[in-house]
Symmetry: D2
Subunit: 378 residues, 4 copies
């Protein structure tokens, strides 16, 4: 099988997420990096390109230039990976879509509902594939939960408790290095910090696992650590269509939590507990209190999920494999497009619609918070 | 040391909590049961009395009769234990206080703020001791956390996440036997179910551990399992005096949770995690992410808390010991009163004031919920 | 129901186990302490007796005197509890048996196989009940495992891994207070320390849960912490009748373990994991890797075991309740004897035969170790 | 940086470990696969080669042919990866060493001590680098423990309890597919099964973490599941130089264990617990019982270990990253050789010496077991 070619926007020195995307794509070796606009100056961009073995001619000063040049090449990139701070997601994605290039963009998709809907419309018009990298839903156990619930094994869902606490931004006067600095800076992050960075993962995880649609939210978004200017602790009450309820919590100063996305789903027939830091395990409880724990790689994992595993049970898979699964499916879809064998049901990754939902969720929460924590329709 | 004498109201056949109070008091053998009004008929009352070795003359048809008769005896009871369904707490407590007898009452203290404040006033006027049995705060680790925070080791508290899910009342048409029936019945339980049964434990646990005072609440109280008429799932947003925030969750249909009171406290210097089902352990995390786990019975437990331990570490103590600790202190105080050595700082148990706070919390939540989930001052 | 009367040998100031036995018996209030030989001098004995509300006339200078005097009384004790250092177990038990009084003795039963067999013979001749307090097998989950295996649900057992590490005696020159001092002293403890104190619990737990009989052992008994003169770390390879194998580990210097008795049983149809420090839970795994966790108090616990529970699930029971279960059954048997309703199948506690097995196990291990870690038949 | 070139022996269809090595190498993209002898027929070899994008001319029928051809090429491979069943390790490694090509070989290194020592000698004579892929020691936390102990923070080590149970081969008449079949077949596996597959990992893990050298062993190697002809359950007592002791357990039928390598190290100043299935965490306990848990990516991890991390804490790394770390260092060393900057202290991966130790350990255990479980010097 011939490898696809991809380019990257962002991911220069000090970037965490750019390097992580590259490594995740590497695992299955189905695509290779051949172009990039890694930094804001062409010099720094070429340095990174050189370290990554990229032809200097395919190191670009701007994403616009890159989009045009790559679209013009016979051997141009098959997809672009956008891993800049949030503020650049929209223009970069737009540039590649307009140039007819498939896009993978880190979450949150962009800054406003208008931007999000424009990207969605553009992707449809251009008939392009668009991955939004909600990493955690790539894991086998996350997909297992989705299939399990879809099959009706939990019965009607009653309530969902989900949270994503982190602790790394707990200190006054400390900004968590480059990663924290841009997240806490309205100029790079947009109007939200914690809710955009972590809250959208919660929203996507619950939506992906349960299929529930949010009807309205009541959000309390607090700025707590002295010196911050954007939210760093958020609680959101949720009502879903159909009557179920939810409560989401995200925090950046919750000491003791590294990266602790956790979803608990309570149905009429049973419950499911899932924690991304222990993502090799999924816990399911029957109505009589029997607790059943299943591990990726063993029996009892739904087939549609199990197929994403690479290693035998107990040979731990983690973050890179989760991200890798998103890319694997995305790349398979691009290949199928090329081969003329593509059908829409092959899309088993969060697409631009999931990105739009995330931005709508953030917008409704902001509105609720500004109005004094009242209910706002999404 | 001579044992104190006590009587019990409630605790007849099928009662869980009455028998549990008796066993908890038994452990240290500092008081003996000598009188009771265990059931609503004198025949059933005498049956229970007989099984417990109580003199039939001290088995009473009503708590009023019991209060008067015991007050009149030379060898009358030193304290009364009230373990009836909620609706009788107020009149029973009142009867004993008026008769000059110390009272231990299960939580929630009563049904209304007026009742609660009257009991508080009466206890003061009569100069009597009044224990409200918030069991879980009797455990060594709960007291350790209180001392740890009081000593400033967490710094300023930023947010508190606390929850008390249970799953036993998850089935439509099933009421969890006698225990569930009265809890779900407004005639016996008052105007709340889950929030009174579980929510008040959360409120007390956070208050006891942190010393924080609730300023206002925003409550969402849902009736979820078909057929219920009182709340069975509650989420409460909290603002404390001084600016910290909290989020409390209580549920009775959360399959997979037996009795899962959990408190997580996030301060500027560190965090504390505590779960009553694993109450022998307390987890404390420093701002640099170092996780320290301490076990009851080992070094590092604050002395004011450690003194309540009975067994070496790893010889597990549980619910009965926690309850026993409340009674141990209560009985020590009564003995000190008799000996003339009592000082108010000896009171290391939840007193009537804690009971009043619980009822005020419930009342404010009800008001918030009825008004459409708005902020209400407590 | 009238309470039984009991007396205690040992359990003076500084004793851990004597006070623990008293508290465990108190829980169910089915017996009361009325006599004792708590210490080696009558003065100290009377001090303890006074604190416990014992008639000074029933505080005795020696256990021989106590046995004779109590046997002679109309209202003499129904059973004696022997909780001295090991070296006195044999003569004390013998004195009460000869006086016709039922006995409860802490483990290990005595020092030699000859002593053990003599006590067994004497108990039979005198037709007396004899409890050996292997505390941990009193817990509901331990009994559940026994019933589960007895019902064939694990299939043929293949291997057993069991251990009992503690860490409290890890420091050179420190002896763990009175409790450690006598255990490390051959004059009070006999020829073994760790293997007698902890190893016999392992032997009993595996025997009780699985029903397996030990055929032969290969033991390595090491004296590790500088200054010790008796074993403080033991590994024993075991072969059972029928071909299954086992490996036992006990240690007193294993820092990080409080009281960590753990049994893992691997059968052809599944496995069982049990840890006494988390004794409210039992973990069972099917051959396909499905992990099922059950909690005391919930469905799925075998009825013969579940009946010993006192509190609802999640209201944690621990060490005292386990010990209390042994006494509850022992007292029920004595009451049934008195009532003429006793049948031998009512004995659901470790009896003198279990004590003899423990001493034979220790003797075979000592022989194996002295011979250079060779196989020795038990 | 230019990528190195490598070839693979083994790793055809159905191979787990070959694909896993390829993915692990891919992560950091420092080497690319360009040649292979993936299967026993050239046709099947070319099929795999085609799927992996290998030039058909570099798909070889035998490893001998491959070694000679690649050695003769200007652009020949920089290293060969040997991932066949055990029986072919020795001849394949020998072929590449003789051809002057660096080797990475899966464990166990080979079948006999003679073979192992010959490979060691050959590697030295040819001055080639030789990686033996004891995967688990590549993880950050494993390296942390090594550094922590090397720095004396545990004090003198007293005893080590280590185990590696798996459960996948628990059924009579089932052989676990291709993976289990060759492991259980003496013709492909050599004279041991479980001890070679799992026991050598234990031996290496303890040796790597503690630096302890095994002096003698007493092994019990059992054939348990009906139909097996090689050991499937092994217990090994160990004495190290300097007086510390150990006990190792490996099993293939221990239902409930996926891949459960666990090491517990007890020193005079503290203990360390490590479990590969939760390898992001390391637990360290001080002599006073304070339990400290550290996570990869946070403070408190020794710098020499922390540098191997790729993702922030809580972004889970697992098996592929561990294996990747071994290759990263191995490739760095090869590059340094080429650049003339190599120094021997750069070798931070298990080399051929570690492989030899493993084979000596197995040989001594076999001898001990055959002689009736007696002590044998290693």
């Amino acid at each position: 099988m011939k490898k696809l070619k991809y380019g990257m926007v962002g991911g220069g020195p000090g970037s965490f997420i750019g390097d992580a995307h590259r490594k995740a794509i590497n695992i299955d070796a189905m695509a290779e990096l051949v172009a990039g606009c890694f930094s804001r100056t062409i010099e720094k961009c070429r340095e990174t390109g050189d370290a990554l073995g990229i032809d200097p001619d395919r190191c670009y000063a701007t994403f616009d230039e890159m989009a045009k040049a790559e679209a013009a090449r016979e051997d141009g990139i098959d997809f672009a990976v956008v891993v800049t701070p949030n503020v650049s997601h929209y223009p970069a994605c737009k540039a590649f879509l307009e140039a007819g290039i498939n896009v993978s963009c880190d979450k949150p998709l962009c800054l406003t509902v208008e931007q999000a809907e424009e990207l969605e419309k553009l992707a449809k018009e251009k008939d392009l594939l668009f991955l939004v990298t909600y990493t955690y839903m790539g894991h086998v156990t996350a997909k297992h939960i989705r299939e399990f619930i879809k099959a009706g094994k939990l019965g009607k869902i009653r309530t969902v408790m989900a949270e994503y606490p982190q602790g790394w931004l707990n200190k006054e006067g400390e900004w968590g290095g480059k990663q924290g600095e841009w997240r806490c800076d309205p100029k790079q992050s947009g109007g939200v910090n914690c809710l955009g960075d972590l809250g959208t993962h919660i929203e996507n995880a619950v939506s992906h696992m349960t299929g529930l649609k949010i009807k309205k939210v009541l959000a309390k978004m607090d700025i707590v650590v002295p010196g911050r200017v954007l939210d760093d602790n958020d609680v959101v009450l949720v009502e879903y269509e159909g009557g179920a309820t939810g409560c989401y919590w995200a925090s950046q100063f919750a000491i003791g939590h590294d990266n602790d996305l956790k979803v608990r789903i309570y149905g009429e027939k049973g419950s499911i507990l899932w924690r991304q830091e222990e993502c090799e395990t999924v816990t399911m409880i029957d109505a009589d209190g029997t607790i059943v724990e299943r591990h990726r790689g063993n029996g009892g994992i739904e087939a549609e999920a199990a197929k994403y595993g690479r290693l035998p049970s107990g040979h731990t898979e983690g973050w890179l494999e989760s991200m890798g699964n998103l890319y694997k499916c995305f790349i398979n879809c691009i290949n199928a497009r090329k081969a003329g064998t593509f059908t829409p049901d092959m899309i088993d990754y969060p697409s631009v619609e999931a990105g739009v939902e995330g931005i709508k969720f953030v917008a409704a929460c902001l509105k609720s918070n500004e109005a004094g924590n009242v209910w706002v329709e999404v």
